[in-house]
């Protein structure tokens, strides 16, 4: 099957039922999206498909309907996305394992809602578990990223 990931087309030879997450991680070596639960409970595997946040652990790769963007495609250390910049500014990450997913959820939220309320943030981000409990800084960074995106 063919998949377009971060702007590059990939051909992979896998079964139809394998979730996108494992194609990304094991078949293609794109390890930014993380395995946390495998059943859409934690958000660690969040990627964008045509800009919408998707839990890649439960989406069969064969059912992918558009272009996939992972955290690696959102921004890089030398060309950060505004959300990543806000995350670094607020020193959000602790163990960091959930943060790829948190950032992808936040970026998708802000693309649709440039000025989210606390309740909007709660709704958009509550599918992303953080066992380190970095929530106060995640909230602050989402708001800071919103401000910086509105200003640009």
């Amino acid at each position: 099957m063919k998949l377009t990931i971060n702007g590059t087309e990939h051909e992979v030879n896998v079964t139809d039922d394998i979730p996108l997450l494992w194609v990304l991680r094991d078949e293609l070596g794109i390890t930014g999206p993380k395995y946390g639960c495998g059943i859409a409970l934690c958000g660690a595997c969040t990627v964008h498909i045509d800009g919408a946040p998707v839990r890649s652990c439960t989406l069969p790769a064969a059912a992918v309907w558009g272009e996939v963007t992972t955290i690696e495609g959102l921004g890089t250390p030398s060309a950060l996305h505004a959300v990543q910049r806000a995350w670094i500014e607020h020193q959000v990450a602790q163990c960091g394992y959930c943060q790829s997913g948190q950032i992808m959820s936040a970026a998708a939220l802000l693309a649709n809602n440039p000025d989210p309320s606390d309740a909007d943030i709660d709704t958009a981000m509550s599918g992303n578990l953080c066992r380190c409990g970095a929530y106060p800084r995640i909230r602050a960074a989402v708001k800071a990223a919103a401000t910086s995106l509105r200003e640009t």
């Binding site: 163990c95 960091g96 394992y97 943030i121 578990l129 066992r131 909230r139």
Partner: protein, 746 residues
């Protein structure tokens, strides 16, 4: 992938005598009996000036030999070296370094001494110092007990200062000038005439110079890095998906594996039928293990599917099969002779002879660690060596255990410690690394990454012990006249030590940790520990015994205050004898506006716990709403003695509070027919964004010693919440998780 290349290159260097032309120091003599482990793997033009500093042409690497599992320890430890070495943090690489006894944790055993942290008398200090000798002899490289910062505070600054001293001496030799005419700045030696020589050019020369035994340290007034909030060295990687955890390691030709162990923990694998699994896509090999089975496949998902398709016949668990039966065993322990009674002041029995004014029974369940990154490790058996990539809190033990399985000498095992997606005590165990080693042995020459599924991780933890407590108290003049607290639990230390072939010599002080050693002046005051037998495997869980005893002790104190008609915060303040402890309580009162009028249905709870030497006071405010209890806000004041990185300390306290609240509200592992019932985040969840309160943190520095802060913020969270619920609703909940008794807003 740069890091992987480095790993591979070092791998080639190890044992291939490629150090020809490289630089080897004879010994790092600063107070360590162990050889500098960096000397084994030096390449051309590389120098290891101390076990903590390696320099090659590409730059400077600081070894931070404690597990970076989220607590920011790599940044803080690297800053200790960088401060004295005079380099900018952004100009150095930071690595875990090799597994080595040279990185033994000197203060890890201090928490086990039978003296309260507030006791700084000569005798107590003498006993603490004697544990340093034991720690050195054992040579255990371990991250835990909030000990990384106190352990490193002097020795890693000395390491930086020693390295700088030899670099200066090398420059003096090269330029033919006196050392005292030279200065350093930002990784460069600068001579009086303006000549600049980078450290990287001096390393080889410097390596031939004997470092000073006891170099002088900077006056803290001159610190440029320490005492400031620094950008974490791992932050950019973690925010761009480029940070590498062991689950992300990729080696050429790697295969992927998973395991399924007997869900009755410790039970045998009686027989299995893998015919169906063998025929499934991608499956390369089925590997029977003691008590389980592993599947190696061409990707992790294929392995996870196949392992589910194996039909297994399991032996029974060697413990009582249900939670109720296990709690009954714990309850029975109260009838045994006690395990410890470190606190017995006044005449408790006398004061309670005519009955108690207030009494209660408390209970907490088993808890899973549930690190965000499921347990996993990479193992590769090749050329008579075993290479491991793993996130471990106990590298030397992991190497020892792996070597034993592979029938190798520990010298033939190389461990690359990676970043960890959470540890919380779980990664001090070697079980997950051992499963990877078994798989690697079944396929020599092939690197195997073995990942436990979330379900396997949740159901095969070494849990926080279940525990029960009872208290009785007598009140006089609005304060406790007598307080008698008894705690019964199986011993986590006994369970942990048994897994590495050791037994516990005396009482397990962790059963009463943070209960017996609190600085309250109560005239008749007794804390007794009872030890139940180990049943389901247990271990240290963030804050260890303090995680349950904070709840027991501080809920009881709150009950006493209400029974005495006293304000719970003012009563504690009147009882606290230790100045830094009083100060955190006063601070949290001010921050929260304790005593202010609250809206209807709101309530505030306070708790104070001193654990790991850190006094912490927390206030939590809740609202009883139509949709359940809502946590509105938390305030915390902590005293770490010396605050090296305030912003990181704040993050750790917020993290510990959220971790503690998650357990308090909903954390529960139960057993049925010998099997853990919870499997994933739907039935073992934690608080999410919508439930997480804003948390204000104040850091004080009145304490006499520098302390670590990964754990101490946790123990007061549960009692502060339970006490707030009582204040808001009048309902006193004596069992965790609280959601068994009251509904929470979600």
């Amino acid at each position: 992938m740069g890091r992987l290349k480095t790993i591979t290159r070092r791998t080639l260097l190890v044992g291939s005598a490629a150090i020809a032309g490289g630089v080897v120091f004879g010994y790092w003599r600063y107070k360590t009996p162990y050889e500098n482990p960096l000397l084994e793997s030096l390449g051309d033009g590389e120098a290891a000036l101390t076990p903590y500093v390696r320099i090659d042409q590409a730059g400077i690497t600081i070894i931070a030999p404690r597990a970076e599992m989220g607590q920011g320890v790599h940044t803080t430890l690297a800053a200790l070296v960088a401060e004295e070495l005079d380099v900018a943090l952004e100009d150095v690489r930071v690595e875990h370094g090799p597994a080595s006894k040279a990185y033994f944790n000197q203060v890890a055993l201090e928490e086990g001494v039978p003296f309260a942290a507030t006791n700084e008398g000569n005798f107590a200090e003498g006993v603490r110092n004697s544990t340093h000798v034991a720690a050195k002899l054992v040579g255990m490289q371990i991250t835990g007990g909030s000990s990384s910062t106190p352990d490193a505070f002097v020795k890693m600054r000395k390491a930086g200062a020693a390295a700088r001293a030899v670099l200066l001496a090398a420059a003096a030799e090269k330029l033919g000038v006196a050392t005292d005419t030279l200065v350093t700045r930002g990784g460069v030696v600068i001579a009086a005439d303006g000549t600049r020589i980078p450290y990287t050019e001096l390393a080889v020369l410097a390596a031939a110079i004997e470092p000073p035994e006891d170099p002088e340290l900077k006056d803290p007034a001159d610190w440029k890095l320490l005492g400031r909030s620094l950008p974490r060295v791992d932050m950019v990687g973690k925010c761009t998906g480029t940070a590498q955890y062991s689950i992300d390691v990729r080696l050429p030709g790697m295969l992927f594996a998973t395991v399924r162990m007997n869900p009755q923990l410790g039970g045998e694998l009686l027989s299995f039928d893998a015919a169906a699994a063998n025929a499934m896509p991608g499956v390369q090999k089925i590997v029977p293990l003691a008590g389980g089975v592993a599947v190696i496949a061409s990707n992790t998902w294929y392995a996870m599917q196949a392992v589910k398709a194996i039909r297994c016949e399991w032996g029974e668990a060697p413990y009582p099969a249900s939670s109720a039966a296990q709690f009954a065993v714990v309850e029975e322990a109260f009838a045994n002779s006690h395990d410890s009674r470190y606190l017995d002041t006044g005449d408790v029995d006398g004061a309670l002879a005519d009955g108690a004014d207030v009494e209660g029974e408390y209970q907490v369940p088993y808890l899973a660690h549930a690190t965000m990154e499921p347990l996993n490790a990479v193992a590769w058996l090749h050329d008579g060596r075993l290479e491991l990539c793993a996130g471990t809190q106990a590298p030397t033990q992991a190497v020892k255990d792996s070597a034993a399985i592979a029938d190798l000498d520990t010298q033939q095992v190389t461990l690359h410690t990676t970043l960890m997606g959470g540890g919380f005590g779980r990664r001090a165990e070697s079980d997950f690394i051992k499963t990877a080693v078994h798989a690697a042995i079944a396929m020599p020459g092939v690197p195997i990454k073995l990942t436990w599924s979330r379900e396997e991780d949740t159901t095969h933890d070494t849990y926080r012990p279940l525990a029960r407590a009872r208290f009785r108290a007598k009140i006089a003049n609005g304060a406790p006249l007598a307080f008698d607290l008894s705690v019964a639990a199986p011993s986590a230390i006994e369970s942990q030590l048994a897994r590495i072939g050791l037994s516990i010599p005396g009482p397990d002080i962790s059963i009463v940790q943070a209960a017996w050693d609190q600085p309250y002046a109560i005239p008749n005051y007794r804390v007794t520990g009872y030890r139940a037998p180990v049943m389901t495997p247990i271990s240290s869980w963030r804050s260890v015994g303090a995680s349950q005893n904070g709840f027991f002790h501080e809920s009881a104190i709150d009950e006493i205050a209400h029974a005495a008609g006293a304000d719970p915060l003012q009563m504690r303040l009147a009882l606290l004898t230790h100045k830094p402890s009083r100060a955190v309580l006063e601070a949290v009162a001010t921050m929260s506006g304790w005593g202010d009028e609250l809206p209807d249905g709101h309530g505030r709870g306070v708790a104070f716990v001193l654990s790991f030497g850190v006094p912490v006071a927390e206030v939590i405010e809740v609202a009883a709403t139509a949709n359940g209890i809502r946590i509105l806000k938390a305030w915390a004041a902590v005293d770490v003695g010396i605050a090296l990185d305030p912003r990181n300390i704040e993050a750790q306290v917020q993290s510990a509070i959220n971790f503690g609240l998650s357990a308090a509200i909903m954390g529960e592992i139960t057993l049925r027919e010998g099997v853990v019932e919870q499997t994933n985040f739907h039935d073992y969840d934690a608080i999410r964004m919508a439930q997480a309160p804003a948390i204000d943190v104040k850091i004080l520095e009145n304490g006499t010693k520098i302390r670590g802060i990964g754990e101490p913020g946790l123990p007061p969270a549960a009692p502060a919440l339970a006490n707030a619920i009582f204040a808001a609703t009048g309902q006193r909940i004596r069992e965790l998780p609280l959601n068994k008794h009251i509904r929470f807003f979600r």
